[in-house]
């Protein structure tokens, strides 16, 4: 217990520090944001980047890693796949180009066989330093099929490549649908024509992996600390990895999971084999720093080179200061943020309640909670506009003035619900009281909560909101029966809407680790398997629509996804989409050329440039 005297001193100090803090000025006018032109290209310099955590989903092991930031580092700096993307922004960044392969593959007339020829002279980095062969790619697929490796997007290959089944040992002959007639040829045989197969073999998990190293790591994520490079950079200290036996291998020094990742140039890399990576910088350092304010200030001061999605206060500085504005880069994120509603849980088992919730939601308020229009446009449907070639840019099934919510229309919709017995447009059933909502305990979720709660209260729905560190685990566990969550967002895996709707609304979902939070297409059997009750109302399924779209290609495919998006928004209504996110980067003055990797939604590390001044 402090003494009276001490308390006075403490109180005085606190007041003084607060008064001092209050003297900082603020401005209110915000300017327009646009992406500045890129500058001259110079070689050299070590790029630095700080973030609060490594949010790796699988320890940076390419077989299972599912984090966009990690994909950006892997595909730009560490891994080459048969085909890849040009590591630039916008539509050109979504184009498939040959990388390890000499050219795009030969495809058989029935669309079932893909033959790739590999370029000569591409080697693994140290300490392996040998020519990459088609067997190394085949090995990567065998790892995808190994259950213990937990390849998080194995569903892109399972059931598509003949004989590839997760958990099934392919035997000495290898996977039936992958042949390697010689060191430079690899042939894939598919079970059905797959319009986006090239996108699937551009994923980091399919990059060649040297078996002599990776065979020592049988558990998910382990190989992440021993990753052998096939591109322009490698972990610092890779050359010191002793690969003479499994026992002699110690984690590469350039990756400390509690501190940093440090990348240096790969001496075995041949620039002549690579058209799409300029590899201007000498290296990159990604450091952890739990103090967001600190690393944001460092970027402004020029001590750190990149800040990813700055906080609103820092963003305002970047936008309002003419010098800083030159260092702000905004690109489409191909990511939708949404509120998910559980079709099996009251009151959201009633479609009229879900529609009313869409109509009443103050989306502009949610956008503000995120930091305003710079963070993204207001979403009015599921698939990001850029991924549908703006086909649904004007589509808004639940319109309201300034996107602030339409109380009259929402109440009109609510009147049709079984939960509004007196027909006044306000839910009067007890199921609308204290509806469990699980969100994150960090911004922007914490800032969204007042907006969401006050919006839904207008139609009689009150929330019992829980703010937790990890909101995804409960909402991904079907048996937890979470009726609504403000946490989710989804970004594309590759530039095809299948990676949105195919993943998120497939009725054959797992009971834990489920991404179909709304339980679209829930059947009696599935409900029983997951231990929940089936609601009275039938739950719509879009499985057939997904299957139809998957078979199509080109414009037809795009239109098919757009129609499915509309069906979901009007006939299923699983979400309240609210933000079609943009990716915002602030940079230091050292960055003379910024490039955005449209595939990974992050910095295109292979195509940025710094001034030659070495940073400390």
């Amino acid at each position: 217990m402090p003494s009276k005297k001490n308390l006075w001193v403490v109180a005085l100090l606190l007041v003084l520090s607060l008064v001092a803090a209050a003297c900082g000025g603020t401005g209110d006018d915000a300017g327009q944001v646009d992406t500045p032109d890129t500058g001259e290209v110079t070689k050299g310099g070590v790029a630095t980047w700080e973030s609060e955590e490594f949010a790796f989903t699988n320890g940076f092991d390419p077989t299972g890693e599912y984090l966009g930031e990690a994909w950006a580092v892997m595909t730009n700096m560490l891994l080459r796949t048969l085909v890849s993307y040009p590591h630039v922004a916008g539509a050109p960044g979504n184009e498939i180009v040959p990388d390890l392969a000499e050219d795009l593959p030969e495809v058989s007339e029935d669309g079932l066989t893909y033959t790739f020829k590999l370029k000569e002279g591409i080697k693994f980095g140290p300490p392996v330093s040998r020519e990459i062969t088609s067997k190394d790619i085949e090995y990567a697929f065998r790892r995808i099929a190994t259950e213990s490796q937990v390849a998080q997007y194995a569903n892109y290959y399972e059931g598509t490549i003949k004989g590839l089944e997760v958990g099934k040992d392919p035997g000495p002959g290898g996977i039936e649908g992958i042949e390697t007639p010689d060191d430079k040829t690899i042939v894939f045989t598919l079970t059905k024509p797959t319009g986006d197969f090239l996108n699937r073999v551009a994923m980091p998990a399919t990059a060649p992996i040297p078996e002599e190293v990776a065979k020592c790591f049988t558990k998910a994520g382990e190989y992440g600390r021993y990753l052998i490079s096939s591109a322009g950079y490698m972990f610092e200290g890779s050359e010191d990895l002793d690969i003479s036996s499994c026992d002699t291998m110690k984690p590469i020094s350039g990756f400390n999971p509690t501190k940093s990742q440090v990348f240096v140039r790969n001496p075995d890399y041949d620039q002549a084999t690579d058209e799409y990576r300029q590899n201007n910088i000498d290296g990159m350092e990604h450091r952890l720093n739990t103090n967001t304010n600190d690393f944001e200030q460092k970027v402004i001061a020029g001590d750190v080179d990149f800040v990813y999605t700055p906080t609103p206060a820092t963003l305002r500085k970047f936008v309002q200061d003419p010098e800083l504005k030159q260092r702000l880069y905004i690109n489409p994120g191909d990511r939708t943020w949404y509120i998910t509603m559980n079709l099996a849980e009251p009151p959201f088992d009633d479609i009229h309640v879900r529609k009313a919730a869409n109509l009443i939601m103050d989306k502009e308020g949610l956008q503000r909670a995120w930091g305003g229009p710079t963070q993204g446009e207001i979403a009015t449907h599921i698939i990001p506009d850029a991924m549908l070639n703006e086909a649904l840019a004007e589509y808004d099934p639940y319109p309201s003035e300034n996107h602030a919510g339409d109380e009259a229309a929402a109440k009109e919709e609510m009147k049709q619900s079984k939960y509004d017995t007196d027909g006044d447009g306000v839910c009067d059933d007890p199921v609308c009281e204290d509806v469990l909502q699980i969100g994150s305990n960090t911004p922007p979720n914490t800032d969204m909560l007042p907006v969401v709660e006050s919006s839904l209260e207008k139609i009689g729905i009150t929330l019992d909101s829980r703010e937790v560190t990890d909101a995804y685990t409960p909402i991904q566990t079907v048996a937890k029966e979470v009726p609504i969550s403000i946490r989710p967002g989804w970004g594309k895996d590759y530039p095809d809407a299948f990676t949105f709707v195919g993943f998120l609304f497939d009725s054959d979902f797992p009971c834990t680790g489920n991404y179909n939070y709304s339980l679209v297409g829930l059947t009696e059997e599935k409900a029983k398997e997951c231990g929940i009750d089936m609601p009275d109302e039938p739950i719509p399924s879009v499985d057939k629509d997904i299957a139809t779209c998957v078979d199509l290609t080109g414009e037809e495919r795009l239109n098919c996804w757009a129609e499915l998006d509309k069906k979901l928004m009007e006939e299923v209504v699983p979400w309240i989409p609210y933000l079609d996110a943009q990716v915002v980067f602030g940079t230091s003055p050292r960055v003379t050329k910024f490039e955005f990797d449209q595939f990974a939604g992050h910095v295109a590390w292979s195509n940025i440039a710094l001034t030659e001044v070495a940073n400390e």
Partner: protein, 328 residues
């Protein structure tokens, strides 16, 4: 918290007598207390502040309605009170304390915050006093095995890492509708009160036990025992009245701790839900916007400091007045 305040037993059995005065005037302990307390200006200020805060808390809805014309969760002026980056605007004629991140009136939320702080502090302290006094008295009076069990229980609870434990309970009970223990523990105000009470009663119990130990050896207890009084009668009619002073002092001193504890829990996001204004939660929200919106921190912090300070001053004053032998 570790500094124990021991030995507050005040004799109730006889008046203080002047030796050399002709007329001996008897004074009751209450009179003596009042004589000493009213000379302590600082404690009086503390008391005044507490009364003012209590009135503010009780009449918060009336003040909000008459002065600010809006409730604590009203967002009708959110568009005007935040800029296009969603950053709040500072004090002006409409919002005298400025706005929070959601564009709500900070003045209204701060005065409503007094409700939460005082409610949590007083209810939790009340519960811990009841538990602490009961167990402390039983342990001290009966002694033997019961004393050992209760004393070890106190030791165990005092050795638990309080905040970690609270974080654990709050986190574990937050991810399902039912909460924990079949719905007995649910996040929110109730859980906060429960956690605070569960961890603060041992302090009271210790003091009470110590005092009971010394009181039970006094002559007047022996006298009543020789007259055939039962244990329960001795405990409630003889021992308890002698414990009133330390209980009052310690309860007053534990209240500010509990206010701070509620603020800490809310700061960590484990306290009351966001729609219930709480100073701790406000400070937490303000911490990441200190540079652009310092008012979000200044006002809740000022009220928090003022409240805890007032309770501490009053507690110190009460101690001085009730137990003049205890030096500062």
């Amino acid at each position: 918290m570790s500094q124990a305040i021991e030995d507050f037993g005040l004799p109730v059995q006889g008046p203080i007598s002047g030796q050399d005065t002709e007329q001996v005037e008897g004074r009751t302990p209450r009179q003596l207390f009042w004589l000493r307390f009213r000379q302590d200006k600082v404690a009086f200020v503390g008391l005044a502040v507490i009364l003012l805060l209590t009135l503010t808390a009780i009449f918060a809805p009336v003040i909000a309605d008459k002065v600010a014309h809006r409730g604590p969760n009203d967002q009708t002026l959110a568009r005007e009170m935040t800029d296009e980056f969603g950053l709040p605007k500072g004090p002006n004629e409409t919002y005298i304390f400025g706005a929070d991140k959601a564009g709500r009136d900070l003045f209204v939320r701060v005065i409503y915050g007094a409700r939460t702080s005082l409610l949590v502090a007083i209810v939790a302290t009340g519960i811990s006093v009841v538990i602490g006094v009961t167990l402390g008295m039983i342990a001290g009076f009966i002694g033997g095995k019961i004393d050992t069990i209760i004393s070890r229980l106190i030791d165990v609870i005092l050795s638990l890492p309080l905040l970690l434990f609270a974080i654990g309970i709050a986190a574990a009970c937050s991810t399902s509708k039912e909460g924990c223990l079949g719905g007995r523990i649910k996040p929110g105000l109730g859980l906060v009160v429960f956690i605070i009470a569960a961890f603060s009663w041992p302090y009271i119990a210790r003091i009470v036990r110590g005092n009971t130990l010394s009181i039970r050896e006094k002559e007047f207890i022996e006298a009543s025992r020789s007259l055939g009084a039962r244990n329960s009668r001795i405990m409630f009619r003889e021992v308890l009245p002698n414990l009133v002073a330390p209980i009052i002092i310690y309860a007053t001193l534990i209240i500010p701790n509990n206010i701070i504890f509620e603020a800490a829990l809310s700061f960590l996001g484990l306290g009351v839900p966001q729609k219930t204004p709480s100073w701790g939660r406000m400070l937490s929200d303000a911490s990441r916007l200190l540079e652009v919106a310092p008012w979000m921190m200044i006002f809740p912090a000022l009220f928090l400091v003022l409240t805890t300070l007032a309770f501490n001053l009053l507690g110190d004053g009460l101690r001085d007045a009730l137990d003049p032998r205890a030096g500062r």
